[in-house]
């Protein structure tokens, strides 16, 4: 339609608010399907943008990370305030949890300090009202001087009024004029401001805000001042004097003084606009649920049970669709095969069938599991249960240099590393998040199961099979926590992120929000992991198909084995044999391992080809026999160890690249784990050889 391109203007708005304030549902309510998720450069913080149309304008919305304030201690806060300071932001919408107004208004004050053109949204207003709170909205508008809108985000209530309020703010912009602190503070700010104004560059943030930041001893801003203003040192010195004065007056440290000042304003404000307070027992239902779910004794078992149910559901409910997709791909492959005459040597056909469908299909086949897993996790998240899970697990996780919130992503990794890595988004601290992401592949994922199921029965008698499998998983977990400790003591060393975490009341999740979360994350899995995997699948296909071996008269399977040997992958296998030989893997296994980089399940198929067995799967007894006759149990064990630890599949690499926005971490992870796997497997093999067995 011609109208879509024909706007009279384009506006930019930013949504700010505390975590758990329902910001996401407001964002969804405004932008609907027009959303896009990315990353801020150089940082593992999600960047969410969208747009909507209103009154002949296109309004771009950026959903800022949830923050409690706008200091400079965390990447989220720095990003939020830098975005608000952008000159092209027309309106900042601050979304407050009405059931928690006092603390939520703290952020509002900081946004107003920035001189932003603000609109206040009182979200969850239904809950607040049900709890007994009554507010004088009109008076709020008068005192704050900004538009104030009540919304019920999860039901889409108030969105229309919000859009209108945004238009009002654009038409009559404000810049935090009504926010006036006490005389002492204002005088100090004025004095600093006077010294500051003359030397400021043209596009500077508001003077008053800069003065406040100087009083806060905000390091980034002080540095900015030194870089951009001539008399920076004088100004900084004046600020120090003012700080000393204010501290003397208030008998308090400056950061407390400023926080106190803001809360004092909030308290005064609330006294005027809050006609009745929320009842003390407003959260009694949520508290009742908590008395069970976070019970001193029952809490943990219940948590483990819930996790188990989620995963069980994932794999059982996901089973049939998995089968369908597999069948679907098979049919597709068959159909494409049919496009060429039988026996055709066409490279294109091979590329399409073996390379692309084989490679990409092998990864997409997990889609149903992933979708169900995300559904379950999103459901738990939106009810607020995940915070309780973190609370229960923190002690355990913290001991290993991780965070309570690391637990769920790591458990997810047992199903599939990809969603596990994506689930680390809930970790606020970058170091915690990176540590968790890096060690996640050690949580033995579902794709490696076929490998274990192939190798273990081949070498171990029934009595030892289950314990061996269990041992493998335990080794994975132990290595993960040890590695986490090491990382946190070396390259990711740093102050422990505060665990200070809000526990929102339980809320009924809306299906819409949960499904949107599920779709968003699953789509990411498909799209980004898919593009890289497609590329690598083609490469792997080329490596294993070329150069083509000359035709012989041997049987088809033997020919296949020879072809593999002849190909680049095979040659590479032979090439790295000296290295893999230290852990007892000969060139055949090495070749299969190269193939397994694409996706772990491929290892089994490749082994089948290597041993001239044609098509096999892990149930194949002949393959097991072949293994038994060609290798010792020790070698088998070393093989498993290596595959457990090393070379996370290329989907993992792709997702790491996406989530960390750089190649540094995925490469570190890839080579680090590979080296670790090789090292450990070699160690085990060499020592094992020395022991009498």
């Amino acid at each position: 339609m011609a109208e879509k391109k024909d706007f009279s203007r384009v506006l930019h708005i930013a949504l700010a608010g505390n975590p758990n304030s329902g910001k996401t549902s407001i964002f969804n309510g405004l932008t609907g399907a027009h959303q896009r998720v990315g990353n801020y450069p150089g940082i593992t913080v999600e960047k969410k943008e969208g747009y909507f149309q209103d009154c002949d304008c296109r309004i771009n919305v950026i959903d800022l990370p949830g923050t409690y304030s706008l200091t400079s201690y965390s990447p989220e806060e720095r990003i939020a305030r830098n975005e608000i300071l952008r000159k092209d932001i027309d309106v900042v919408v601050v979304i407050a949890d009405s059931t928690n107004l006092d603390r939520n208004l703290y952020l509002l004050l900081q946004v107003m300090e920035l001189g932003a053109n603000t609109v206040l949204v009182l979200n969850m207003s239904d809950e607040a009202r049900a709890g007994g709170q009554k507010l004088d909205i009109e008076q709020m508008k008068v005192l704050l001087g900004i538009p104030v809108v009540e919304t019920v985000g999860h039901r889409g209530g108030g969105i229309k009024q919000l859009k209108q309020a945004i238009q009002d703010a654009v038409a009559n912009p404000t810049h935090g004029e009504r926010l006036i602190y006490n005389d002492d503070l204002e005088a100090a700010l004025a004095r600093i401001g006077d010294l500051l104004s003359p030397g400021l560059p043209a596009d500077s943030p508001p003077v008053r805000w800069l003065a406040i930041k100087l009083l806060e001893r905000d390091q980034p801003r002080i540095q900015w001042l030194r870089d951009n203003v001539g008399n920076a040192e004088d100004i900084i010195q004046l600020a120090e004097m003012e700080i000393a004065q204010l501290e003397k007056n208030s008998d308090e440290n400056i950061s407390l003084y400023l926080a106190d000042t803001r809360y004092a304003i909030i308290a005064g404000f609330m006294r005027e606009v809050r006609l009745s307070e929320m009842r003390r027992d407003a959260r009694r239902r949520s508290e009742a649920v908590d008395s069970v779910l976070v019970h001193r004794v029952l809490g943990l078992p219940i948590f483990l049970l819930i996790m188990y149910v989620v995963f069980w559901l994932t794999f059982t409910a996901g089973g049939p669709p998995m089968g369908w997709i597999e069948a679907g791909f098979e049919h597709l492959a068959g159909w494409i095969n049919g496009l060429w005459p039988a026996g055709s040597e066409s490279a294109l056909r091979s590329l399409l069938v073996d390379g692309i469908i084989g490679g990409v299909g092998g990864v997409l086949v997990f889609l149903p599991n992933i979708i169900f897993l995300f559904f379950g996790l999103a459901l738990l998240e939106d009810t607020g249960y995940m915070a309780r899970a973190a609370f229960l697990m923190d002690r355990f996780m913290h001991r290993f240099g991780l965070h309570g919130k690391s637990f769920v992503p790591m458990i997810t990794g047992f199903g599939c590393t990809i969603p596990g890595i994506m689930a680390t988004r809930t970790l606020e601290n970058e170091r915690d998040r990176l540590t968790t992401m890096l060690v996640l592949p050690l949580m033995s994922c579902g794709a490696r199961l076929p490998i274990y199921l192939l190798i273990i029965p081949a070498f171990f008698i029934k009595k030892w099979q289950a314990p061996m499998l269990w041992l493998i998983y335990i080794i994975g977990i132990v290595l993960a926590v040890v590695l986490a400790r090491v990382l946190r003591s070396t390259i990711l060393a740093g102050e422990d992120a505060p665990f200070v975490m809000e526990l929102p009341p339980y809320r009924m999740p809306t299906m819409r929000a949960v499904l949107m979360k599920m779709v968003e994350r699953s789509w990411m899995y498909i799209r980004k992991a898919g593009t890289v995997i497609l590329a690598i699948s083609i490469v792997m296909w080329a490596l294993t198909s070329y150069p083509k071996a000359p035709e012989t008269d041997a049987q088809a399977e033997v020919q296949e084995a020879q072809a593999l040997e002849y190909s680049l992958a095979g040659r590479l296998g032979k090439l790295i044999e000296p290295v893999t030989g230290t852990m007892g893997a000969d060139y055949r296994v090495a070749t299969a391992m190269i193939g397994a980089f694409a996706a772990k399940e491929v290892f089994v198929a490749q082994m089948g080809i290597v041993f001239s067995l044609g098509e096999v799967d892990e149930e194949s007894t002949t393959l097991r026999e072949k293994l038994k006759s060609n290798y010792t149990p020790l070698q088998g064990f070393a093989m498993i160890l290596f595959l457990l630890i090393a070379t996370p599949c290329m989907a993992t690499v792709a997702v790491m690249r996406r989530e960390t926005n750089s190649w540094r971490w995925p490469m570190l992870q890839f080579w680090g784990l590979t080296f670790l796997g090789w090292g450990l497997a070699t160690l085990v093999y060499q020592i094992g050889r020395l022991l009498p067995m």
Binding site: T71, D102, P498, V500, L503
Partner: protein, 253 residues
């Protein structure tokens, strides 16, 4: 009070004359006996002998019926007198909050009734109050203290707060948040954490005078779950150890 020149001390009234002459010269460029008499509210006949004396002392140049000029020495002394006078006046009106006319009058008088030493110290006191930040602080507190100015609103906030804190620390049981048990309540007294943790606690509203209640403790004893400002917060025992609270004991009626 009196300055010593090479010829002997100058009396207070002579100093006053010097001051008057100085002011006249500044304002009108010239000093005439008639003007001096006007300002000082005396008869011209009284002025003349004073002028003679000042002339003899080499502080002014005076020939009858002519304008009076200050010598270098005279000007120096005059300046000094003016400065002290001004400081005293400002001290009286600015610090002591005395009305302007009274301040002006008394500033003049004080010099004649107090010894040099005392006046010097008074001047120093006032200079201290004007320049040293601590001094300005004293002035501020003095002006705002309701015990001295009963018309003011009772109890300036910092006083009250200081007093409260002191009492709290003395009388109540002060312990850390980490040591409180589920069900116990406390009021935050001090936050001794630093850096990112401190900022986070402050941003959440965990400030002195905030009431907190321990809701529960995690199965393994850590972290703890507290209620404050109408919402729930969890933090590690280690983090809670940096928060001093005064235990609030429920009153049984």
């Amino acid at each position: 009070m009196s300055h010593h020149t090479h010829d002997g001390p100058i009396t207070e009234s002579l100093e006053d004359y010097l001051e008057t002459i100085y002011h006249l010269i500044n304002e009108k460029k010239v000093a005439r006996v008639k003007d001096i008499a006007n300002i000082r509210n005396v008869r011209m006949a009284s002025v003349t002998p004073a002028m003679k004396r000042l002339n003899d002392l080499g502080l002014i140049v005076y020939q009858q019926r002519e304008y009076i000029e200050l010598t270098e020495e005279g000007e120096k002394i005059a300046r000094r007198v003016v400065a002290r006078h001004t400081i005293l006046r400002r001290f009286f009106s600015g610090f002591l909050n005395v009305s302007d006319e009274v301040a002006e009058k008394d500033a003049c008088q004080v010099e004649h009734h107090l010894s040099d030493e005392t006046v010097d110290q008074l001047v120093r006191l006032f200079e201290f109050i004007e320049t040293c930040p601590e001094g300005r602080e004293i002035q501020r507190l003095f002006h705002q203290c309701s015990t001295i100015n009963p018309e003011l609103e009772p109890c300036h906030e910092p006083c009250r707060r200081r007093e409260r804190q002191r009492q709290m620390k003395e009388s109540m049981q002060v312990t850390t948040l980490a040591r409180l048990k589920p069900g116990e309540k406390g009021m935050v007294v001090q936050i001794s954490a630093n850096g990112a943790l401190r900022q986070r606690l402050i941003d959440m509203g965990l400030l002195p005078h905030t009431e907190v209640e321990i809701e529960r403790v995690a199965p393994s004893g850590d972290p703890i779950w507290i209620k404050m400002r109408g919402f729930d917060l969890s933090l590690r025992k280690q983090e809670a150890g940096g928060i001093l609270v005064a235990k609030v004991v429920p009153v049984d009626n």
